[in-house]
Amino acid sequence: MNNDRENPREMSEESNVSGFDDDNSKKRRVVVPGEIIVSGDDYLPSEGARREGVNVIASRFGLAEESGRVVKVIAITGAFIPRRNNVIIGRVTNITFNGWVVDIDSASSGFLPIDESPRFINKSEMDQFLAIGDVISAKIWSVNTRGIDLTLKGKGLGKLEGGFIFRVSPNRVPRVIGREGSMINLIKEKTACNISVGQNGWVWIKGNDIDSQIKARKAIEFVTDKPFVEGLTEKMEDWFTKN
């Protein structure tokens, strides 16, 4: 099974919001709720920001980013908020008559309808395909008041076998992936592991042996422990020469 699960377009969008950028056209600083970010009628408040009179104000704790006239506040802490097209890693918690209930570590459970499995599954053999406690890499195709709908139809999605999963903070995910996948590809290469990173913070690693799996996890935790450091890719390469 091809384990390259990142969508390149989604990734490069995300990787730009990962901590301090070398590109000076984006100014970033940490703000608290209610703090004035900028003043001026020309600015356009976006996600995490609002306008009050002439000021653009932070509506959450995070990194305020000005990109041209657009001002937003990027979350640097907090729970995973599911969005359509997110690829996530989840654990099956229940089997119903028409699908699987999946814990995606979010305020609502995910649901995988039997029709969204990658091949035809008979209702009587549902638990043979996915049993309680099994892990899947799935895509969110709908977020609505009833819950979160998942699909396994897509490149690189499906049941995950072998290896292990662990959690990182969801807002560190862009750093773990890196600009256009540079960080995650470096780690995969150096450890010869299959790695899949879910937007919900869950990471799957499967290697040829125990030691390379442990190393791959350590490498990822090296990245997540240093969210605001520049030149992380060089530091990661450096780490691999020492470990």
């Binding site: 076998e161 959690r167 913070g201």
Partner: protein, 271 residues
């Protein structure tokens, strides 16, 4: 933090790792994480301590009250161990009436402390047959990253060693504002400590992280104290369905004294 339950593939991987003697944080199966002890969590407690084992953190406080002795121990003070699994400490803990684990933790610590006789309860009599001191130990987890039980026992011992008796007025009523320099009548021996062995497949381990603990099948807690240049097991409780083999129990018996030595060594400056 996640409340997601452990997945099958992670349990399989951990089982294989433990068989090979490996853990994610590089420790050996019987290595303990870094232990940190601090005091004076509350100036309203007669004694208090905070203990962390890695990222697991527990606070323990000792309060003293004066009351009547129990009818079957008229010449002794009383000991009570209580507490709460604060929902603050883990996404798994819910507010509301205590579940089995919330009830179990203080009881395990109670038996380790009580049966070690570290507190000389006979010296806690205020007026023979009428008034005795009651020592109340309250345990509160602040962050659960596995092995709350062993952290709590260290915390209870640390808090006891740091406890001063409050003043009594002439009617033998407590005046909490009157502090004395008199400490609790405690044994000079190190400990007691508890050691909880966890089992996954055929592997035993000590001091698991929450991730490791949640994958395991069963655990057993031993309370150990030093006695006459040797050791005594004062309490024991297996918690969970999966059996332990005799070989496994004998292996634990080999490991326990070494671990007691090690923890004593690490904590002797503090306790």
């Amino acid at each position: 933090m996640s409340s997601m339950e452990t997945s099958n593939l992670t349990i399989d991987t951990l089982r294989k790792m433990f068989e090979a003697g490996k853990r994610f944080d590089g420790r050996g199966l019987f290595d303990l994480r870094e232990i940190k002890v601090g005091f004076d969590v509350s100036n309203k407690a007669e004694g208090s301590a905070r203990v962390s084992l890695g990222k697991t953190e527990v606070v323990v406080g000792v309060k003293l009250q004066v009351g009547e002795p129990y009818p079957d121990s008229m010449d002794k003070g009383n000991l009570m161990v209580s507490g709460d699994m604060l929902p603050l400490a883990s996404p798994r803990f819910q507010a509301g009436p205590p579940d089995f684990y919330a009830i179990e933790l203080p009881r395990l610590v109670d038996r380790a402390i009580r049966e070690s006789k570290i507190i000389d309860l006979k010296k806690l009599v205020v007026k023979e047959g009428e008034k005795v001191w009651t020592v109340i130990i309250d345990i509160y987890p602040i962050n659960d990253d596995g092995n709350l039980i062993d952290a709590a026992t260290i915390g209870a011992v640390a808090a006891l060693r740091n406890t001063f008796l409050p003043g009594l007025d002439k009617d033998s009523k407590i005046d909490y504002d009157k502090k004395t320099k008199e400490k609790l009548p405690l044994s000079k021996e190190m400990g007691p400590f508890s050691f909880t062995f966890y089992k996954l497949g055929n592997s035993l381990l000590l001091d698991p992280t929450r991730e490791e603990a949640e994958a395991c099948d069963v655990r057993v807690t031993f309370g150990l104290s030093s006695y006459n240049k040797g050791y005594m097991i004062n309490s024991c409780q297996k918690s969970g369905r999966t059996p332990f083999t005799q070989e496994e129990i004998e292996k634990m018996m080999e490991i326990l004294p070494k671990k007691f030595e090690e923890v004593s060594e690490r904590l002797k400056k503090i306790l």
